[in-house]
Symmetry: C2
Subunit: 208 residues, 2 copies
């Protein structure tokens, strides 16, 4: 029987449209869950005041980053306003090997790339309760024009077709409920036969 994954920790990828609240849920999970660690991104942008290397980001130069790309050492990466951002594979796998779960909050394109590179991850789609609520949240931020928001809503709806690539979807209407639901997913994933049974049976066998 070969049921167990090679890592005793699990990677949970939280994704979904902007305004769904994945960042807030992620923060709450990290505060309230033991043995759960945030994935730290690597970037070529300059550190801002108060940012700590290895905690906020792994700060690096373009050459090193591009070597990481070439060497397949990133679970995903993107270039935003001329700066690279990516998820270093080794840092994630080290935590998983130590038995710590890792949480990664990322946009939908990034999540799909992570899935290609680490299909053993658990992919959770965070959704707003309705399109009108999403419109309200985006408007409330005051960072985009009404037109830009309508365009974004149209894009978001199209992106929903990627939901089939995910394992779970959680509607973030009431934050407490959404957090509880993601916590339940974390617990359930640790109870999966494919994840845990082999070790259990081995322990019984030793006793007999």
């Amino acid at each position: 029987m070969k049921l167990k994954e090679k890592h005793p920790g699990k990677l949970f990828v939280l994704s979904g449209p902007s305004g769904a609240g994945k960042g807030t849920i992620c923060k709450r999970l990290l505060e309230e869950t033991e043995d759960l660690s945030l994935s730290v991104s690597m970037t070529t942008r300059q550190p801002r005041t108060g940012e700590i290397d290895g905690v906020s980001y792994f700060f690096t130069d373009v050459e090193t980053f591009e070597n990481h790309i070439a060497g397949g050492e990133l679970l995903e990466f993107a270039k935003v306003y001329g700066n690279y951002y990516g998820t270093p594979k080794r840092a994630v796998l080290e935590k998983l090997t130590r038995g710590t779960d890792v949480i990664l909050e990322i946009d939908m394109q990034g999540a799909l790339k992570v899935k290609e590179n680490y299909p053993d991850g658990v992919f959770i789609f965070i959704l707003p309760p309705s399109m009108s609520e999403l419109r309200k949240r985006l408007t409330g931020r005051g960072t985009e024009s009404a037109e830009a928001i309508e365009l974004r809503l149209g894009e978001t709806f199209k992106e929903l077709s990627y939901i089939e690539k995910y394992d779970y979807c959680v509607v973030n209407g009431v934050l407490e409920e959404a957090v509880a639901r993601v916590k339940a997913i974390v617990i359930a994933e640790h109870s999966k036969v494919a994840f845990t049974a082999e070790e259990l049976i081995a322990s019984y066998k030793e006793e007999l």
Copy 2:
């Protein structure tokens, strides 16, 4: 997109060796979970004092029971000490269609038959924390000889190989933890993309 199962409720099958505590967990879940209903078995044995038809069991005669078998109307059945016991499919499906989850507590052989007849069910294996703890629990019942218990432990260990057929396994060491874990599985299963996404996307579409 055709993601959704045909039933808005889910069937949760709790199984595992005698002494693992599946009955206690099942009872607690029913007390503490809304929209969860116990599957009522059909039997040909005589009702005992206080047993209510349709609640304790569906009491029936041998001819009716055998017609149910012949008609494929049982998710599983067995004959114990000359009496038939089985799980009527229709009663389960009716609850699921109404959006009520159904829980079924059953031995391992029965669970595997249910899986053949209703693969959309969620199969949870309840395990004792160790073989020595299982021995202690069975001895504590005082219903079997030490020899019979050792035989049963050997059988149990063999039956553990069926664990691969299940979706989840939950170790019942501390009852509270085991109950919380099964509850988490129930919540997580309701968050599965395959279970819930189609309906969600339809509701967004209506808004656009």
